[in-house]
Symmetry: C2
Subunit: 167 residues, 2 copies
């Protein structure tokens, strides 16, 4: 399996590296795309080199997409290429996972109308205004979409995402 993560500076540390290590544990290839192929500095401490810029992403080569939270999604949602990638995964019914503020990218991608989802409480109203059906649950699964609220949900978030990828 090939999994794509899209994130950027000031992402939440745990929401980037827990999935990054966890997907590696499955033996899968995990690539990180960002605004450029440079170092990403998470909010608190974690640093990692992006594998490519979002412009270089060949979305057809990946089996699933994951969007960490933190303060990165507010920047990423303003990038048209990021939104195109999200829509490409969703149109192809490939698993798309977002946690915490990662759902801001889903909102801007306009793929949430009528879909069950959760998110960080601070952006719940935005999720609802985007047409989603909001649930205050650790993890919400709607067809190819997996969403969670916050870092503490990571065990449930990743289990649901990995189970979905395994089919």
């Amino acid at each position: 399996m090939k999994i794509l993560i899209i994130t950027a500076d000031r992402c939440d540390d745990s929401e980037l590296f827990y999935p990054y290590y966890r997907l590696a544990e499955e033996g899968w290839s995990v690539s990180i795309a960002s605004f450029a192929k440079t170092k990403i500095s998470a909010k608190y401490h974690f640093e990692i080199e992006a594998d490519m810029s979002v412009d270089e992403v060949k979305e057809g080569e990946y089996d699933a997409l994951l969007l960490p939270g933190g303060m990165a999604p507010e920047k990423l949602r303003q990038n048209a290429r990021v939104l195109d990638i999200v829509r490409a995964f969703n149109d192809a019914k490939k698993p798309v996972a977002a946690i915490c503020h990662g759902q801001q990218i889903l909102i801007s991608s306009k793929i949430l109308k009528g879909r069950k989802a959760t998110c960080y409480p601070g952006i719940k109203d935005d999720l609802v205004n985007a047409g989603a059906i909001y649930f205050n649950e650790k993890v919400v699964v709607d067809e190819n979409l997996v969403t969670s609220r916050r870092p503490e949900d990571l065990p449930y978030f990743m289990k649901a995402f990995i189970d979905m990828i395994k089919g």
Copy 2:
């Protein structure tokens, strides 16, 4: 399954919470013991309440033990009760996992003589002086013992530990 983690302030964030979330993902009960039943502040950001003091631990109730690294092990290795707990798990052949500087506790527990192990490079000489057979590998398994070098080894460390617990 019931898993015990022993750690304290200034542990490495990822070496505490990656295992903590990962073991929860398996659906297992995870308890954290420390010097007291108080808040633990990891080196960079992560905080969590300890479930109990090491004096309250009933080691016979747990199936496996995990020791994160960071700067906590140098303090914990000076606590006789911590060392007794480690020896109790090891004597019972229950899985014992340590990563990075967590091995300082294994050294002081005197359970390493003739055993294959790895650790953070900065304490390699101490591991060897304690009688261990050192390997510079992502994860080293010797009977009930699982050791790794650093946070980047976490996917391999946790896979080996979980596989061992599952038997």
